[in-house]
Symmetry: C2
Subunit: 381 residues, 2 copies
Amino acid sequence: MRHTVKKLAILGSTGSIGRQTLDIVRAFPHRFEIIGLACGNNISQFKAQLHEFKPRFAFSHSPGEVPAQVQTSTMEDMASFPDVDLVIIATTGRAGLNPTVSALRAGKSVALANKEILVMAGELLTGMAKQTGSQIFPIDSEHNAIWQCLKGEDSAVSRLFLTASGGPFYGIPHDKLNNISTEDALNHPTWKMGKKVTVDSATLFNKGLEAIEAHWLFGIPYPKIEIVIHRQSIVHSMIEFEDGSVKAQMSMPDMHLPIQYVLFYPQRLHNKNIARLTFDEMRTFTFEPVNYESFPCLKLALEAGKKGGTYPAVLCGADEIAVDFFLKKQIGFLDIEKIIEKTLNLHQNNANPGLEDIIEADRWARETAMHVVSKEIKCQS
Amino acid sequence: MRHTVKKLAILGSTGSIGRQTLDIVRAFPHRFEIIGLACGNNISQFKAQLHEFKPRFAFSHSPGEVPAQVQTSTMEDMASFPDVDLVIIATTGRAGLNPTVSALRAGKSVALANKEILVMAGELLTGMAKQTGSQIFPIDSEHNAIWQCLKGEDSAVSRLFLTASGGPFYGIPHDKLNNISTEDALNHPTWKMGKKVTVDSATLFNKGLEAIEAHWLFGIPYPKIEIVIHRQSIVHSMIEFEDGSVKAQMSMPDMHLPIQYVLFYPQRLHNKNIARLTFDEMRTFTFEPVNYESFPCLKLALEAGKKGGTYPAVLCGADEIAVDFFLKKQIGFLDIEKIIEKTLNLHQNNANPGLEDIIEADRWARETAMHVVSKEIKCQS
C-alpha cells in the first residue's frame, strides 16, 4: 500500500518537542519528508539533524554554522513555502508567533506545541485560520486529549476538566517555597520537558496558559473550564458533554503519542516505541480540585486570559523574563509571581489589538519585567 | 424549534430498564410517542403505565388484565409494527429473542438492554441487522461506553478494557462464599439493577456475558478484551486504539444516561435529573486485573463464548435456572457455578446453529440444569 508523503517544516527542531517529532519521522521514514528545520542555539545537534534529515531549508540564529549545501531561510519563509504540508511550531515563548502567522496566512496547517503563541494572539490566529481554511492542531498533551475526546462529537461541551499533575511542589505550603532551587523546580514528577515549561509547570502558570489555549482552540468559555489535579498524568484531560457523559483520553506521559496523532491525523498507527498503558497491576488515579490560593501564577494567568486584549501577551512576556532570571539563579522561585503581577498591574490594556500591538505589548512587558527585577527584586536580595 | 417525535415500543416496561426508559420519556414528553408496552407479571405497575402513556398496543402474560381500550398484541408484532422507530428490548433472559429477531427482520433499530440475546445469537442477529440495515444500540453501561468511545474513530481497536465493579463479594476468598445469602448477593455496591443481573454481577457471570456481547457488537476478538476491576463504577469502559491512545467514558453509575444516549442518538441533551460527575472533592479511581480463579462463572462464560456455536445459549439457559433457584433460596451461591459447569459439560455443540437450534439449545439447557439441580444439588443439601 502506497501512502502520501507528508512534507514538514519543524521550527525548534533541537528542543524537546522538535527532537521527539524527529523520532516519529525516524519510525516512519517513508511517510515524511523534512522540507525545513529551524533551531535556536544548539548548533552541534542541529548540524547532526541537517546531516541526517537533509532538509532543503535551514534556519539558525548562527547562520554561518549552516553547511553550504543547505539553503538558509527565515522561519517565516520556511513556514509558508508552497511544498510544506504541515508546520510544526516547537519553538518556545514568542519566537514562533511570526512564523505561525506566516503559515496560517499561506493556508498551511500548523501543529502547535508552543502555547504562548495562542495565548498572546488566540483571537487573531484562530480568525486567520478560519479565513484561509488552515487548521491548528494542538500537540500539548491536554489539548491533544481534548481534541481526541471531541472527535466525532457534535454536542456542545458543558465542562472541560483540564488535568494538572500539580508539579514538583504540590502540597507544599506556598510560604515554604521561597528557598526552592532551580534544580528542585526542574525535577518534574511525571513529564520530561524543556526547562521553561518545567518551571511553568511548577508554578502552575503553565496550566493557566493551557486554559487560555483551550478557550481559543475549542471555543470553550472560561466558566466551563475546571482545573483538576491528577498527580499521575495518565488522564490528559476530560470533556463533559451536554448530557453529562464525560470522555477522557489516557496514555502514559510521553509526548511522542500526541505528536504522532498530529502527524498522522486522522489516522492512528502502531508505533512499538510508544509505551502502552496497562492494568496488569493495581493502578490508582486521583483527582482533586486545584487550590488557587497556593498557585498565584495560575490565578494571574486565568485573570489575564479573562481580561483579554493585550493582557495575555504581557502575561507571557513577563513570565519569560521571570523564568529566565530564575533559571539563571538570579531570583527566587516566589519572585516569579511578583514579577508577573507587578508587570500586569503596570499595563494599560488594548482591548482589540492587532498583531503589531501584541508584539509591542510583549516587548513592553519584557522591558517592564526587567525593570521590575532590577528595581524591586534584585535590590531585595 | 420543532423536533421529530420518536415512536417507541418498550418490551419489559415494568423492569428496571423499562421504568428508567419511561423516566426519560417523561422528561422529554414532546420527543417520544409510546406505540407499545410489554410487561411480564407486574400487572399493577403495568396498568399505571398504560394509563399514563396510553400506548396503542400492550402485551402482558395476563392478557385479561389489559384494559379494553388498549389493543393486545404479541411482542413480535409490536416490535415490527410499521410505525415503530425504535424497539427497546428491556426484557430479561431469552424472552426478548424472538421480538428482537422480528424487529431486525422488519428493519427496525433495536436498543438492547438484554445481554443474553446477543450472547445466545450474536452471529445471527448481527448478520440480520447487516442485511436489513437496522442498527443494534447497546444500553448496557459498558457497551454504551464503548460505543461512545468509538464515535468518530476509524482506527482498529487494539484493546478493550471492560470494567467491572467486582460486585459485593470482591476480595472475599471464593471458599468463604458458600453461606452467602440471597440478600447479600442482591446488595450491589454501586448499581441498582434487576435481581437476575445483580446476582450475575456478584458471580461476575455478567462480565463474561458482556465480553461476548462486546465481541458481537463491535467485532472485537476475545484476546483483545481485558477485564479490569474498577470498584467505583465511574469509568464504564475504555478503548485502546492502534496508536496506544486510550479513550474512557465516565459518568455516575446511573442507567438513565446510557438510555437517554440511545434514545436521542446521535444528539446529547441536557437532563437535570441525571446527576453529574464532579471533582469538587478528592476522587480516587482504582483499576486492577481480575482474578479469574476467584470467579469460576466468569471463566465458564468466556470459555463458552470462545467455543461459540450453541454453547453460549446453553450458558445462558443454565444460568437462568441456577439464579432462579438461588433467588428462591433453594440452592447455595456456589451451586450456581456448579450447575452451569455441569450443564455445559453435558452439551453436544452445534457449531453453526440456526435460530431454532439456539432456542432448542436453550430449552435443553434449562431442562438439563433443572435435572442437575434435582439430582445433584438439592440431594446434597
